[in-house]
């Protein structure tokens, strides 16, 4: 069985570091321009340089998205940007536009991956892209298991598939609702997620609903990882450049365990609590979408069922004597039972016996955002561990 790459999102420099820390083999990020998540902080070219250095020291990879749909004004400036990226020694670019592919292949040595924005759903489209030099195809998210299997059998290029994260309501690249309802270009980084709005729905001139919505559940492929590994898919992608470091730590670490588990042991069993944790971490329900079933109402969550997740309690930032030094993220109290996991340590349950403020005074709770406190939990935990509520 081939071990796939675990590819994590990096919305900014800090998230890039966390993704590597928690086990990603590679990260994808946007630089200052040409990326489809213009609203994320993204990374400056200097930050990309730094994260590439970190990646190389740890035998990991960095891919940069250059995946907007080009208008003339951008196309004219693209080559200069690609050359800058090449100097930074990134491992690949991700593009939607074939002009970007051609420029990169003709004028640089950059590897080129084809974005899911091109909504590639069949093997003949992939064979064409292979012929013109694409190094990897990121498959559309509407594919069933048998589709992916056949594509793998019929093609030679690397394949990447999403395993977790948000889904579009539309076929990728075929939605410009944002352009016309909020003047923000969906295909040039400005998507305002109109598909998560509520609408009033009419039939003829009769109102049917004040709360018509598309709301698509997230994707979760945790229970299908073995099937994807058996197909020898090259890279498993986690969506989420706009998500928190908590999301990254939880999702990356759990999928890391699952992939490593199946790689070493064909009979590996997915931990039920891990699956629940993956379901909870993103505030909205998730399912395996088209992989195992046709389109149906169960792919949606209606009535605005997003529930704010306050499971994330804090980050371990150090130690002092036998106390752990923590930066708070949500309120917690003395006697709370919590779970802690780290970059190299599995989840374990603890009780918070005492909380001290930074001056050493005993307090009953860590109540303020990013408050720094010392915890007596009668254990040693590693730096950059995550503290969260029990599942």
């Amino acid at each position: 069985m081939k071990k796939p790459e675990l590819l994590a999102p990096a919305g900014d420099f800090e998230k890039a570091q966390w993704a590597f820390l928690y086990g990603a083999d590679a990260i994808y990020l946007a630089g200052p321009s040409f990326g489809l998540r213009a609203n994320a902080p993204n990374l400056s070219l200097l930050e990309i340089k730094k994260i590439v250095q970190i990646a190389k020291q740890n035998n990991k990879k960095v891919y940069v998205t250059v995946n907007i749909v080009l208008h003339n004004q951008e196309a004219e400036k693209l080559l200069a940007y690609l050359k800058k990226l090449e100097k930074l020694q990134i491992d690949a670019i991700i593009v939607s536009d074939l002009y970007a592919l051609q420029l990169a292949k003709k004028h640089t040595k950059l590897k080129v991956f084809i974005s899911t924005q091109t909504s590639i759903m069949n093997y003949q489209a992939i064979l064409f892209l292979e012929q013109i030099g694409a190094d990897r195809i990121i498959l559309a998210r509407e594919l069933a298991k048998d589709d992916i299997k056949l594509i793998k059998e019929k093609t030679n290029v690397e394949l990447e598939t999403f395993i977790h994260g948000a889904m579009c309501a539309s076929v990728s690249g075929r939605c410009v609702l944002s352009n016309y309802l909020s003047n923000r270009d969906a295909n040039r980084g400005g998507c305002s997620q109109v598909c998560r709005w509520n609408f009033t729905l009419y039939q003829d001139n009769r109102k049917i609903s004040d709360n018509f919505a598309f709301f698509i559940k997230d994707l979760i492929m945790a229970s299908h990882i073995k099937e994807l590994m058996n197909m020898a898919i090259d890279s498993f992608k986690i969506e989420g450049r706009m998500r928190s470091i908590y999301y990254i730590a939880v999702v990356v670490s759990i999928y890391r365990q699952i992939i490593d588990g199946y790689y070493l042991n064909d009979n590996y069993q997915l931990n039920k609590n891990d699956y629940l944790r993956l379901q909870k971490v993103a505030n909205r329900h998730a399912c395996s979408q088209f992989f195992a079933d046709n389109d149906n109402a169960n792919y949606h969550y209606y009535n605005n069922e997003e529930v704010s997740n306050q499971d994330f309690l804090g980050i371990v930032i150090g130690r002092k004597d036998n106390l752990i030094y923590v930066e708070q993220r949500n309120r917690f109290h003395v006697n709370d039972q919590v779970s802690i996991f780290g970059p190299n340590t599995k989840e374990k349950e603890y009780t918070i016996y005492k909380i001290y403020d930074e001056k050493g005074g005993l307090i009953s709770a860590a109540a303020h955002p990013k408050q720094r406190v010392y915890l007596d939990i009668n254990a040693v935990v590693e730096k950059n561990s995550i503290i969260h509520k029990l599942i």
């Binding site: 196309a75 069949n122 352009n179 400005g190 709005w197 729905l201 698509i216 149906n296």
Partner: protein, 278 residues
Amino acid sequence: MKLLLQGDNYQQMVDNQVFLDGFIIGIDNLSINVSFMCAADEIKSFLKKFPDKEVFVILNKNYQNDDLMYLEKTLLQLSEVRVAGVLFYDLAVVYLNKTLNLNLNLIWHAEHFTTNHFTYSVYNNYQVVGMVLSLDMHFSEIKQISEKIKGITMLPIFGHYPIFNSIRRLGKNYFSFFELEKSLNDLFLQVDDFKLPIIDNKKGTAIYHPYLVDGSKIIKQLDEIDYGIINGYQVEDKKLMKVIKKIFNRQSLSGVINDLSENIFYQQTTYRIKGDDL
């Protein structure tokens, strides 16, 4: 600029043919957002009905593996008859045209991607001979591209414009979840003052721009574009006749039909290439 009709029905084509240079028709199961479709083996008899017209076929669906055999069969049939060209979205069409040496006139019609002439040049290396310019850009960009392209250019100049496509059944799923026994006809979304038509059928869901695209005032300035596309979809036949006659005579459509907008040609979304700090 020649005029092509993507008709809602056969009668629209018959009634208006004197003002038109040709038609765009779909193929069952290989086209979306098109009302008038036929099977691939019916194309020959359709062409016989309009011997002096240019007939283009639109194959604009995203194809899955299951579609490929029928797509290949269709392209082979099209190559044997006198179609003027094939408007395509999926790269499988380019692959098959090249691999099977079909020499079809392929026109790139990935409606939200056809926004610059550089990318067209890449496709042109692979036997693509034209492009349908996207409406997701400003008039000045349309003009610039049309002047630079070496190939067939087309532009939608009237009709409903799709701004969202999904293979999901968004209306059907919603009604199913809430156990509402409703038909899927005549649905629209109200967003502020806008009414966006939704079409939900076995091919998925499409949402359309709230207004009918009105290019009647700008086409004189875009006469270098080879073809203007008039989309008769969901337009009453009698009104469409008036529209086509006005466009043929290069006259304004004001007062002919409601819910028109030429603003789509002047919309400019914000985008800025940021500087670097290295």
